[in-house]
């Protein structure tokens, strides 16, 4: 079953093409990682899938629905963290998690439980009653990932979820993602950390110039070398086509 999907998505900012027929599909129980250079189109693709950007063309689907108009029951099975997290600096860590849980459709009592579990899971106990604005960049990122995973979503989008994390935080996020996938969730994650995505992903898609240029099996050989070879081939092909 397809959980997250972009089909032939096109989008431009001004005269610059950001997405050029972008296609990606994530099935239930699957973790798909997107890797690409800066400006390749990863974040733009995730914003379209998260319902934050209306594309010029193509189609997006989250759990079978248009992400721009997710019905409440479907939204309660979805989570997205692209850019700024769902967190406010003047609220405590616990209050932020409670708010996130309730906004993801949990009842007050379930939200209390989910927030407490998330605090433990993301090793934020020491800061549970601290204002989020006082957190380090790494703990702020932990809070952001916790806020969109604490309700156990069936579809999850994460943009660079480990960029500010220490090794312990990376392991926590990796375990949470794998656990969700083990429970049947489809997860689409973008990252620049090729070693990290090789550990967490079932499938890696290489993104370049606004489109997916190929798939990299995570367990085979030098991932970095294969990625750059793929980018070079795409550029060479692009110049030949031009």
């Amino acid at each position: 079953m397809t959980v997250l999907e972009l089909r032939g998505v096109r989008h431009g900012f001004g005269g610059r093409v950001a997405l050029d027929g972008f296609c990606v599909e994530v099935g239930a129980g699957e973790v798909v990682a997107m890797v690409g250079l800066n400006g390749a189109g990863k974040t733009t693709a995730l914003r379209v899938l998260a319902g934050r950007l209306r594309p010029d063309g193509g189609a997006a689907s989250v759990l079978g629905h248009d992400p721009l108009n997710l019905p409440g029951p479907v939204a309660s099975r979805f989570g997205q963290c692209v850019g700024a997290p769902l967190a406010y600096p003047e609220l405590t860590v616990n209050e932020n998690l409670m708010a996130a849980a309730r906004l993801h459709g949990l009842s007050r009592s379930d939200a209390v439980r989910a927030a407490a579990e998330a605090v433990e899971r993301f090793a934020l106990s020491s800061w549970a009653d601290a204002r989020a604005g006082s957190l380090s960049a790494g703990n702020w990122q932990r809070l952001g990932v916790a806020a969109v995973t604490l309700h156990g979503p069936d579809g999850l989008i994460l943009d660079e979820p480990t960029s500010a994390l220490d090794p312990a935080g990376v392991v926590i996020v990796r375990d949470v993602v794998r656990e969700l996938a083990g429970c049947g969730s489809g997860v689409l994650v973008s990252s620049h950390h090729l070693d990290e995505v090789a550990r967490v992903a079932d499938r890696i898609v290489a993104v370049h110039a606004g489109r997916v240029i190929g798939t990299l099996p995570p367990g085979e050989g030098d991932l970095e070398q294969r990625f750059f070879a793929m980018v070079l081939a795409a550029d060479t092909q692009g110049r030949a086509d031009a």
Binding site: P73, L86, R102
Partner: protein
């Protein structure tokens, strides 16, 4: 959408407002400083040591019933203060979501984003109404403490002060729309300043009665009794209608939010 989802948005927005430096500064300013200033202004007007130029300025408050004058002054100050405070609050409440990027993080939740835009406006209105009502009550209490008595035209003046403040609140709500349009807190403050300047021009040109942003202060008597008398039901309705229009407009904006 269920009530619990809307309730989650209300809880979050209320908590953010309670924690905000903006609300913590503006609330005491409105409900303590403005009443103190109003009572102080009337006391100053009746002081024999007031120099000539200032005495002329304060002359309208130097005669007549004490409490009526207190309510006259607080109504005039609040007609401007509530609008300014509401404009700043709207700039903060809406603008911050774009500046910090949380407008995007609010996508894909069980409560659709239009509910966030609507709740922000409703909460802003309720908070300002509470502040305005509290300011009038505090003014009456201070007036009683300095010898004012509820007599004469006190009731009418209280109604005028209340209506002027409510109209000013209605005029503050469109700044949520402005903040969403500009996606900028400072940009919204800039528009607020421009509107205040434009209001001055319209009043000088004699068109204040039909320029909504001039109506609350003219009704409160800032332009004198003649200008206040020009504010009829038509002017009041034309001003008040901006509140529901603002609610509809900002809700529609947040329903169609793009590129967040």
């Amino acid at each position: 959408m269920r009530g619990t989802e809307m309730g989650a948005v209300w809880s979050l927005e209320l908590l953010k407002l309670r924690r905000s430096t903006m609300a913590r500064l503006i609330t005491p300013l409105l409900i303590v400083l403005v009443p103190l200033g109003s009572v102080g202004a009337v006391a100053l007007a009746r002081s024999p040591s007031l120099p000539g130029s200032a005495a002329a300025k304060f002359a309208p408050y130097a005669v007549g019933d004490l409490m009526t004058n207190h309510l006259l002054v607080v109504g005039q100050i609040m007609s401007v203060a509530v609008l300014t405070a509401g404009g700043f609050a709207a700039a903060w409440s809406y603008g911050r979501e774009f500046v910090a990027g949380t407008a995007g993080a609010l996508a894909g939740l069980t409560a659709p984003r239009w509910t966030v835009g609507l709740v922000k406006a409703l909460l802003l209105a309720l908070w300002l109404i509470a502040c305005h009502a509290a300011a009038l009550v505090v003014t009456v209490l201070l007036s009683l403490a300095v010898g004012g008595r509820p007599a004469g035209e006190v009731g009418l003046q209280a109604v005028i002060a209340m209506v002027a403040g409510l109209l000013a609140i209605a005029l503050a709500l469109p700044f949520g729309w402005v903040a969403t349009l500009t996606r900028s807190q400072l940009g919204t403050i800039g528009v607020l300043i421009a509107i205040v300047m434009l209001t001055q021009i319209m009043v000088v040109l004699g068109a204040g009665a039909w320029f909504p942003y001039a109506v609350p202060s003219l009704l409160a008597g800032m332009g004198g009794p003649d200008a206040a008398a020009e504010i009829g039901p038509g002017s009041i309705v034309a001003t008040a209608v901006l509140a529901p229009l603002a609610l509809v407009a900002v809700t529609a904006q947040w329903r169609r939010l793009n590129a967040t």
